[in-house]
Amino acid sequence: MPQPTGVIVERFAQSLEDLEKAPSFAKSKYQTDVYQEANRLIDAENGLNHLYQYAYRFEETGVFQDSAWEQANKLQPPLVAGSLKAKGLPMVIEVLSELRMLAIAENKYTHPTVSAEDAEEFLNEVMVLNLNLLFPAATESTRIEKHENDDKISKLFQFLISHLSSKALIKTLIHEIERLTAQRPIMIKRIVSMIGTAKRMLDSDSDGDDHAELKKYIAAIEGPSPMSAKYKDIPTYRKELKELSRSELISESVALAKSMRETGLVAPHHATIIRFLCKHHPGLLVYTLNLSSKGSANLEENMELVQQVIKASIFPATKQAIYGLALMLERGVLSHSPVAPGLRRLVELDIRADVRNALHETVQQGEGLTANSILVAGTIQVLGQPLGVGQGFNPTCQAARGISLWAQHAPGFLLEIIPRAARDGDLDFTFEGATIHSKDLSGGLAPDLDMELDPVSLVLVPHLDKIYSEMMSRVALRGEDGHRWVNPAFYGNWVPKGFSTVTNPISGFVQDYSGFVRLFYATHHPEYNDDYELIYPNPVGIFITNVHGKMLGLHAVSIIRIAKDPSGVERVYFYNPNNDGSQNWGQNIVPSVAGNGEEEGESSLPFHEFTSRLYAFHYNPYEQGEAYAVDASEVNDVLNLAKESWGKDYTWV
């Protein structure tokens, strides 16, 4: 028989009392007892409620003193889940910390550095990041990964939800979905699962009538048009299509296309109607894709190929490729002469067994798709959404950046290496006169590739990763940053040969930082670079810093363009292969993904903020502007931002 809750509550109160009386240096001696009793209460009936009665005192009594949870204003929502899933002590303290936040949010006490709004926002963020824990989905993977703390976590979240306004929570959730969809990633699994959980939340929320925004997203994946909303079942929908008049087909197409363009998400019905129209009314395809005049001209020019491609690759399971197809036509990619034969080759390509299996893994079983269909659909997506290529959970930003760059500027080359890898299991690159074959290499940065990737990345990344690593190791001992030679060889001649890094590669010290900054301004900032426009994406290295400006590591992004935003601020627009382009980098440096003139898939920062995180960049030595003219105060601002963040991990000389 478990001990009655009342007894534990009493002991908890006593232990908290003892802790309160303890002098600050002796808190650790008394914290253990508090944690012990709290641990028992977390398991006990109604225990969280009892604990919460004391939550407003946790901080002043010293429950968090000398622990990672000491400063409430420094806590980060993304770290909560890890602690909650950890065994033992971290879980206990994390639960207590959430209750503290709730006490602040509910104005049980006034916190010196965290306002009630901050606290509520924090908790909402925690909820949104952990929706899978809040509404455990009954999928195979969650079953396998079932964690022993799951019940406790779900209990905690249910408790928090009962106290938080679900309105605010749903708002945060919508914001998160908007943030992610604004980047138009090719892989939308996470977005779809968020929408799914949000939907369940709406269902359990009786007064949820003002969630039009959320309903828009739900509809986008379930049926955004009158017909698709009515006939959710795809075979029925298909049957009903045959009964529609031409004008009804047009209005159904327009409704589907509008939702797709707004959200970047495609409903399965969309695939059904596009196949139907392709066969019976190809003239209406332009409505289903909602094409601009440029796009429709490209469609007309390549109608036969587009029809082939639709037949071969657009199915409910590959529905997202419709969005890729629309954007590909808008970009006019099919007008590149190698693209049409390149795509046709993929339709009939003899794909290796291992690649075939990997491709089949990307769709659910029982869809009846060939590996070629999946590969063609994936290729269309990459060609249509080059900035939607992501590295997934792999440290392979370089490979993702390459695929994205080729999709933008060298589709012929991309269509050359995809069949090489898929059919031959090999890629060869020439580096300084020597040929490197990926099939001869082992290792790479990601020997155990996480397979949560788009089809093209799935085919190419294992090879590209090994080749890039091999090139880097061949130049490792040259006493200079190897990217200088590797980037032009790997990405191609689009990368300029001039190269500059922050650190001296031999000493590892930061040397002549202001010179580095001035050179970047003189080669990239429109005010100082003699109006040379950036033509091809510039693969640059950046320091990734966390919300407190602490350096986490190096990362590869590409500068896409540099331009004034709608409010007249000079900004760097860049591609971040991690598909989460608006992480907080500290010092109020938060890349935005929408609202500052970004195109779909771009992240952006004001010029000087971006410069402050820059680690290495390429430039054209013949296109330098006026380095000396750069405002000293601007250089100084960048210097301070750098020194106060990643610069703390380096020696400055």
């Binding site: 028989m1 478990p2 001990q3 303890a22 002098p23 600050s24 240096f25 002796a26 650790s28 001696k29 253990t32 007892d33 944690y35 012990q36 641990n39 000398d66 950890a86 065994k87 033992g88 002590l89 206990v92």
Partner: protein
């Protein structure tokens, strides 16, 4: 007079009064939050002399702190005395084994009695300790110091020859332990010639002694002006794993005899101030054999158990007794009658019986036992279990309290073999 004026004046008065009785700093040598807490509670001005790694913590919490590396001895060691003296310290209290001679040296200087230092050395060399005890007529086993494995082999053979063992008989064990390590660190029982090979070269020189049969127990004697002011007897259920305070009636009835022996030890070792922690063996025929003695806070949570059973802080007691200026009246008021306790306070130190821990399992019956008070274990992060040094680094402790010593004994014994970690 204004109200805040009154307050100010009384503060001045208090400060003056303090200045008369306690004008000096007490130096706590080592690091123990409990000891610091006790000093703070007693309103004694103090300074902590501890390993440098505690400096930032001390700074954060406004603790007067001098960082010191106790393993480094050279000409500048004198600097510690000068530094403390300049701060106004006049008293040093050792908190752990390695600090005993440092505190001894400091007190010798503070009190200008060089022999205080020599006495402290006596407590840090187990060979010297035994010899001193023997010279003073205290009953000890046969012992010798060893410099290498040959010495150990010869001693093992000689002891067993004396016990008239024949070729092929099982040898009686001998015990070896490094001369200057705390408690059971490096302690080994050896009863075969092969067993000698297990001794680490770094453990030499070491003390060897013949095996003593009987019940082992420890005492904590609080000594002031050479007199034992309070004697606690701790009963070991299993050395290094479990013990309780006070001892059961069977052992407690020997209290007069034990008190006499401890006072004899104090006299022989000329211990004047502080706490000592001797260990004895009580043989079946009722004689006491002296094992060893330390002059520091004992392990096994004994101080905490004393506080639970007798209601006074043993850390405060240590500070009081270490200070020559403490008055008889203060001592009298502080210590209770040793026969006057609320119940038995025991603890079980838990060490995983496995190499790799994944989970913690505290049985409900244990938590629901009326004697169960608390434990301090949490589900561990998965990991390899570190090899045990002495009886240190246990993973957690379970505390008990109850009125019946037999039930306490049985309860602790029952869970001694329990696998709390999986």
């Amino acid at each position: 007079m204004e109200l805040d004026q009154i307050e100010k004046d009384s503060l001045v008065e208090e400060a003056q009064q303090d200045a008369e009785t306690k004008p000096y700093l007490t130096a706590l040598v080592g690091w123990s939050v409990q000891a610091i807490e006790a000093a703070a509670r007693m309103n004694r001005p103090f300074v902590v002399v501890g390993p440098p790694e505690f400096e930032s913590y001390a700074e954060k919490h406004d603790i007067k702190f001098v960082g010191w590396d106790f393993n480094k001895i050279n000409e500048s060691s004198d600097g510690l005395y000068k530094q403390l003296k300049a701060m106004g310290a006049e008293l040093a209290i050792p908190l752990y084994e390695e600090c005993v001679e440092w505190a001894g040296a400091l007190n010798a200087r503070f009190r200008e009695e060089p022999r205080v230092f020599n006495r402290s050395l006596l407590l840090r060399d187990k060979g010297m300790m035994k010899r001193k005890a023997q010279i003073s007529g205290i009953k000890v086993g046969v012992f010798e110091e060893a410099r290498n494995k040959d010495d150990v082999k010869r001693f093992l053979q000689r002891v067993n020859e004396a016990l008239l063992k024949l070729e092929g008989d099982h040898l009686d064990p001998i015990h070896v332990k490094p001369l200057d390590k705390a408690g059971s660190v490096g302690h080994m029982a050896i009863n075969t010639v092969e067993g000698i090979e297990k001794i680490q070269d770094t453990d030499f020189p070491l003390l060897m002694e013949s095996h003593l049969d009987g019940q082992e127990f420890s005492c904590e004697a609080f000594v002031h002006k050479g007199k034992v002011r309070f004697l606690n007897i701790t009963e070991y259920v299993r050395l290094g794993y479990s013990n309780f305070v006070p001892a059961s009636p069977k052992l407690e009835q020997k209290r007069p005899q034990i008190e006499e022996a401890v006072q004899k030890l104090v006299d022989a070792f000329e211990i004047e101030y502080g706490v000592i922690h001797p260990e004895y063996f009580l043989t079946p025929d009722g004689t006491l054999h002296f094992g060893e003695v330390a002059a520091r806070v004992p392990g096994g949570h004994i101080f905490e158990l004393i506080e639970r059973a007798y209601g006074f802080s043993a850390y405060e007691a240590q500070i009081l007794c270490s200070d020559p200026n403490t008055t008889e009246a203060e001592l009298e008021a502080f210590f209770p009658n040793p026969y006057d306790y609320d119940g038995y306070a025991g603890c079980l130190m838990v060490h995983p019986n496995i190499d790799y821990v994944q989970d913690l399992n505290i049985p409900d019956e244990l938590e629901e036992h009326p004697y169960f008070e608390k434990h301090d274990m949490f589900t561990p992060p998965q990991g390899k279990v570190a090899e045990r040094v002495g009886f240190g680094n246990h993973y957690g402790t379970i505390f008990f309290f109850g009125r019946d010593s037999e039930e306490m004994y049985d309860l602790v014994k029952e869970y001694e073999q329990y696998d709390f970690y999986k």
